[in-house]
C-alpha cells in the first residue's frame, strides 16, 4: 500500500495565451484554465501506482475557487481526497510562500498517516520556475528527485525507490528511500484513459476547502503576497540562443557524424 500525495496547479492554457504588447503582461481574461500538464503526469503516475500497489491518493492545490475544476479532474485519476487551499491571504504568493503553505499543509495531512510518495510537476507552465517541489521537500526534510522520466522500481518492504532522472546530457539512475518527493517530466507516464465511473464521480466531487484560518495553522507573515520577497521587474520573451547539436557516439556511428559536420560547414560556406 502506498500513501501518495499529489500537488497540482491550475494554469491558463498557454497555447492560447497572448501578451499585452503595451504592458508586457499576460492577458488572462478569457483564457481557459487547465491543469498544469506536468501535474497531469503526476496524477497519471499516482493513478497507475494505486492500481498496481493499492493505496490512497490525496491531491492538494492552492488557488481561486475555479481551481476546484482541477481537483475534480484529479478524482478521474482516482484521487480519494481532494483539498483546495483557498483564501485571499494566500493570493500573490511567490515560490517561497507557496512552498511554505504547501509544506505546512502536507505536514498537517500526514500527522497520522505519513505519505510515502509526494508527486509534483517538474514546473508550472505559467511560471516555469520549477522551485516549488524542491522547496516543499526541503521544508519536509525529505529527499527530492527532480525531472524524473522513469520509475524503475518501488520496493515497498525496504521502502526504496529507483528512478531515472533527466540531466542535460543523459540520464541519472538514482535510488532513494521513501518518503521521497519527485517532480515529473512528460515522459514519466502516459495519461490513462480513465473509466466511466471515475468520470461520473468526478463531476460530483466537492473538495475540502482549507483557508488561512484553518485547519492548518500558518504563520500569517509567511503567506501570500506578504510572504513573497520576489518582485517581477520585467516580463519578456527570451531570445533563443543558437544551439549546437550533440551526438551520442554510442547511438550514431562516427562516420555519419563526421559527414554531418562536413555537410554543415559546407552549407555555411566554411569549407
Amino acid at each position: 500500500m502506498l500513501n501518495i500525495l499529489v500537488s497540482i496547479k491550475q494554469v491558463p492554457d498557454t497555447t492560447n495565451i497572448r501578451i499585452n504588447p503595451e504592458t508586457g503582461t499576460l492577458i488572462r481574461e478569457g483564457i481557459p484554465s487547465i491543469t498544469n500538464p506536468y501535474d497531469v503526469v503526476a496524477l497519471s503516475l499516482a493513478c497507475e501506482l494505486k492500481q498496481r500497489y493499492g493505496g490512497k491518493i490525496t491531491v492538494i492545490t492552492m488557488g481561486p475557487p475555479q481551481a476546484k475544476a482541477s481537483l475534480r479532474e484529479a478524482v478521474e485519476f482516482g484521487a480519494d481526497r481532494i483539498i483546495l487551499l483557498c483564501d485571499k491571504k494566500f493570493a500573490g504568493a511567490d515560490t517561497l510562500a507557496t512552498s511554505y503553505t504547501l509544506a505546512e499543509t502536507i505536514k498537517f495531512l500526514q500527522k497520522d498517516d505519513p505519505f510515502d510518495l509526494l508527486l509534483f510537476g517538474k514546473q508550472a507552465i505559467d511560471g516555469d520556475t520549477a522551485q516549488v517541489g524542491p522547496g516543499v521537500a526541503n521544508r519536509l526534510n525529505i529527499p527530492v528527485i527532480t525531472y524524473v522520466i522513469k520509475l524503475q522500481d518501488i520496493d515497498l518492504i525496504n521502502k526504496k525507490i529507483i528512478v531515472h532522472r533527466k540531466i542535460e546530457r543523459g540520464v541519472e539512475v538514482l535510488e532513494a528511500s521513501l518518503p521521497v518527493l519527485l517532480t515529473c517530466e512528460k515522459e514519466l507516464c502516459a495519461t490513462p484513459f480513465v473509466p466511466l465511473e471515475q468520470v461520473i464521480k468526478a463531476t460530483k466531487a466537492e473538495p475540502e476547502v482549507f483557508t488561512a484560518e484553518g485547519p492548518v495553522i500558518f504563520t500569517r507573515e509567511k503567506l501570500g503576497l506578504k510572504g513573497s520577497p520576489t518582485q517581477v521587474k520585467k516580463v519578456f520573451t527570451p531570445e533563443l540562443k543558437k544551439q549546437g547539436k550533440i551526438y551520442n557516439l554510442e547511438e550514431v556511428p562516427l562516420e555519419k557524424v563526421i559527414e554531418e559536420i562536413i555537410g554543415v560547414l559546407k552549407e555555411k560556406g566554411l569549407l
Binding site: F193, V194, P195, L196, E197, Q198, V199, I200, T203
Partner: protein, 438 residues
C-alpha cells in the same frame, strides 16, 4: 449484473439533452447524461439569441441565477440589408427587454449542466457513445468509448429503460438506431461559421449606441452571403460581438466556396470594416444547422428510444428558433417518459406519446407550414441578390434628393426597380412569398 444501471440515458449535453435531464431528475428518475465534449458546450456553437420563456420552463428562477448565462438582454432587434456599398437598417426597440437575451454556448450549456447536476442527474463528460445495446429490436442501453473500471478495460455498457438521443445535427446514432434511413444531403443543411470579436474597451457600447444592459440582435441579408441564400448575424455580448453567416452547404459546394473566406470577405465590407476596427478574434467555429423540413424528419421514437432537438430536425431558421425548440422537445420527451414509467411499458406503444405531444405543438405546425422552405429559398436565390442592392440604391437616391425636382427622383427610383427586378418580377415575388407563408 451490469455495473451501470439507469432509468434513462441521454446522449448529448446540448440544450435538448440537458432540459430532458433536468425534467427527469426533478421527478426522481435515475438519469445519466453523456457528453463527448470536455464539458457541456465545449464542442458547440450557436449565435445565439435565447428566448427567456423556454428557459423558464426548465429553470423557473431564471433570470435570477448566479452565475448567469446572460450576456445582454436583447433590447434592439431587426435586419440589415447589405449592398456592396453600404447598409439599410431596420431596427426596432423591443417593448420588453426580458423576452430574449444573447448568450455564448460554452457558458450557457455549462450553466444548464451545473443546474442539471444540482437537480441530481449523473453526468459523464469527455465520453462518447459509440453504439447501443440491442435486444430483439429493443434498445436497452448504450456502449461508450470509456473502460468499465480500472480493473475491467472493456468498453462500459450502460443499461437503461429509455435512451434519449440528443446528439445534435450529425445524427449518426439516430441512424444507427434505425430511425432515419439516410444521411442528409448538402441541400438539407446550412453551414454556419461564426467569430467572437473583442472590441477595445468601451467601444462596443459606443459603436452600437448601447448602455451596459442593452443589447442588439440583427440578421443580415445580401452582400454578407455574396447574395447566396442564407443570412448573416450580429449579436452583442457583454464585451464581445458574435458575428457569423449561414449558407446552404449545397451553394457552397456548387461554387466551391469556403465559408470562412466568405466571413473574411464580409469583414472587409466598408461598413463592417469600420464597425470592427481594432477588434480581435477570440473564437472561431463552424457548425451545421439542420434544414430537413418535415419530410426529412427521423421517426422520433422507437422501442426504448426517443430523439430530441437538432437530431430530430427541430429548427426554425426563419425565426431563429433552435435552442428553444430543443428545450421544448426535451420537455415533451420527459413527459412521454413519465407516461412510459407509469405504464411500465417502454415499447413504441407508450413512447409514441412523444410524437403525439409533438404533433400538437406549435413546433410541428411551424414545420408543416415551412415544409418547402429550403426548396423555396434555393430556387429563389435572387431574393438575396437583388433586393438588398435595390433597397440600398433606392434609399441612396431618396435621401440625397435635395435640390432636385422630386418627380425626377421618383422616376429614377422606379427606373431602378424596373432595371433590377421589373414591376412584374416584384409582384410575382410578393405573391410567391405570400403564398409560401400562407
Amino acid at each position: 449484473m451490469n455495473k451501470y444501471l439507469y432509468d434513462v440515458v441521454i446522449i448529448g449535453g446540448g440544450p435538448a439533452g440537458l432540459s430532458t435531464g433536468i425534467k427527469l431528475a426533478q421527478k426522481g428518475l435515475k438519469t445519466l447524461l453523456i457528453e463527448r465534449g470536455r464539458f457541456c458546450g465545449a464542442k458547440n456553437l450557436f449565435g445565439g439569441v435565447v428566448y427567456t420563456s423556454s428557459i423558464k420552463e426548465i429553470v423557473p428562477e431564471f433570470p435570477e441565477v448566479d452565475p448567469s448565462p446572460v450576456e445582454r438582454p436583447v433590447t434592439e432587434e431587426g435586419y440589415f440589408f447589405l449592398s456592396k456599398e453600404g447598409v439599410v437598417k431596420i431596427l426596432h426597440t423591443k417593448k420588453r427587454a426580458d423576452e430574449s437575451f444573447t448568450a455564448l454556448r460554452a457558458k450557457f450549456d455549462a450553466f444548464l449542466s451545473e443546474y442539471a447536476l444540482k437537480k441530481g442527474i449523473d453526468l459523464a463528460p469527455k465520453t462518447k457513445v459509440i453504439d447501443f445495446i440491442r435486444n430483439n429490436g429493443f434498445i436497452e442501453g448504450v456502449i461508450v468509448d470509456r473502460p468499465t473500471s480500472f480493473e475491467d478495460p472493456s468498453p462500459a455498457t450502460i443499461k437503461a429503460k429509455v435512451v434519449v438521443i440528443a446528439e445534435g445535427v450529425n445524427r449518426l446514432l439516430t441512424e444507427k438506431a434505425g430511425l432515419v434511413t439516410k444521411t442528409f444531403e448538402p441541400e438539407e443543411v446550412v453551414l454556419a461559421v461564426k467569430e467572437v470579436l473583442q472590441l477595445p474597451k468601451g467601444e462596443l457600447e459606443a459603436r452600437f449606441g448601447l448602455s451596459n444592459n442593452q443589447g442588439l440582435a440583427v440578421e443580415i441579408f445580401g452582400e454578407i452571403t455574396k447574395g447566396l441564400p442564407g443570412t448573416g448575424f450580429l449579436y452583442t455580448n457583454k464585451t464581445t460581438i458574435s458575428f457569423g453567416i449561414g449558407i446552404f452547404l449545397k451553394s457552397l459546394m456548387d461554387l466551391n466556396l469556403k465559408p470562412y473566406e466568405i466571413l473574411e470577405y464580409a469583414k472587409l465590407h466598408p461598413y463592417f470594416r469600420e464597425l470592427f476596427k481594432g477588434s480581435e478574434t477570440l473564437e472561431y467555429g463552424a457548425h451545421l444547422i439542420p434544414e430537413w423540413g418535415i419530410k426529412g424528419l427521423p421517426k422520433p421514437y422507437g422501442n426504448g428510444v426517443l430523439v430530441v432537438g437538432d437530431a430530430a430536425g427541430l429548427v426554425n431558421p426563419l425565426f431563429r428558433e433552435g435552442t428553444n425548440l430543443a428545450i421544448y422537445s426535451g420537455l415533451m420527451a420527459a413527459e412521454a417518459i413519465f407516461y412510459a414509467f407509469e405504464k411500465g411499458d417502454f415499447t413504441e406503444r407508450s413512447l409514441r406519446r412523444y410524437e403525439e405531444l409533438f404533433k400538437d405543438s406549435f413546433i410541428y405546425k411551424d414545420l408543416v407550414m415551412l415544409k418547402d422552405l429550403k426548396t423555396f429559398l434555393l430556387s429563389n436565390s435572387h431574393l438575396f441578390q437583388v433586393y438588398p442592392e435595390m433597397i440600398y440604391d433606392i434609399c441612396s437616391l431618396y435621401f440625397s434628393a435635395q435640390g432636385r425636382y422630386k418627380r425626377d427622383v421618383i422616376r429614377e427610383i422606379f427606373g431602378i426597380i424596373k432595371k433590377k427586378r421589373g414591376y412584374w418580377g416584384i409582384l410575382r415575388d410578393f405573391v410567391k412569398i405570400g403564398r409560401f407563408l400562407w
